[in-house]
Amino acid sequence: MMPNDPLFPEQWGLKEINAEKAWDLCNGNADKVILAVLDSGIAVEAGKLSHPDLNDADRFFLGRDLINHDDDPSDDHGHGTHVTGIASATRNNKTGIAGLWLGQVLVIKVFDSKNNGSSETFKDGITAAVRFAKERSSHLVINYSGGGPDSNLKKTAVQYAVENGALLVAAAGNNDGGVIDYPAAYASEYSQVMAVGAVDSERKRPSFASRGPQMSVVAPGVDILSTLPNYYTTVNQAEKKQTKYDRLQGTSQAAPLVSALAALIWSKWPDLPAAQVREKITASADPITGSSEDFGHGMINAEKALT
């Protein structure tokens, strides 16, 4: 069913992955799945969710700000609000855009106003997300639209997430055709980790996107319209973006579509372990002609994954 969000027609990525048909197939229990977004936070003003498409306090839980060590994960960059909107902006509210996932979202701030984090904030973010999901006896999908070098600490954190049944979906990175960042590159070692690359509307790998043998799948990552804070942040100043809604590109924008799809799969089939959720996504992806280092198993197909 076509949602009534006025900007939905501009969300080419949702059409590309057959989101509308997928929504018709979703009849599961979304209450037992948490999608944790580890990023630069979410639009928050005076301690309250402030974006009209991301302001449902029953869905969006404000987790820790691990940059400033407080409980206010307000986004001062814009990246996190954009990523969160792609995955889970409120749908059918006659406002802005539509998100793929309408269940619960935990927002944890691990990137600062320059969009940088560290292996320490990554590890702390994973720990906080696992604890939150455990307290609620929920499945946990972790979206990490970031990355960097391999490290013992990062790997320890991934191991902890895996041992606790979580699925980690990570952006492959924007290394201009270079190697895949970590933690995404752990996808070849752990069947509970996914490395997500980006494609444009012609299903080609954009020049900025990373590539490599660890690639799991790709999703739309160019010219992606989503939410931005309704106040000025780094992304408005540095990249001349508008407040509230604008387009960004990157494997960061591709990963949340995969995370949201994983959450939908888990809500429909709650008995699946994390590795099988990944398997459902990769097995249902539409192959793309070319190297598997560019596209992995191909473009995600939400309808097929939920059938």
């Binding site: 630069s40 969009n115 560290s118 292996s119 990355g147 490290s151 270079g178 190697v179 960061s252």
Partner: protein, 102 residues
């Protein structure tokens, strides 16, 4: 190496490792004890004893055996890490690597 960025007010250094650009907090070390030494104050003390003067714990040992140590500017981060990794109690000692949103 360059030192233009900062993370949480601390300088960030950039270098190359295995052909990959890596960035890390220039004066910070992540230390993790092996699981059998968790909450072992003797093992924690041993770590602290080999640190250069004017080092301080940015974050004391937690329940997973991890600590974050701020080193003085003059210290060689990698040399200190190598020294710590020679201790039987230490699982690893490494820089606090910087990630970026992509």
């Amino acid at each position: 190496m360059s030192e233009a960025l900062s993370f949480r007010g601390r300088p960030v250094r950039e270098s190359k490792r295995n052909g990959r650009k890596v960035r890390y907090v220039a004066d910070q070390l992540v230390v993790k004890l092996k699981s059998r030494f968790l909450n072992d104050s003797k093992a924690q003390r041993k770590v602290v004893e080999v640190l250069p003067r004017k080092s301080n714990l940015a974050r004391g040992f937690d329940e997973t055996g991890m600590a974050i140590i701020n080193l003085p500017k003059s210290a060689d981060l990698f040399q200190v890490a190598r020294k710590l990794e020679k201790q039987d109690e230490v699982q690893f000692a490494e820089p606090n690597f910087v990630d970026s949103g992509s």
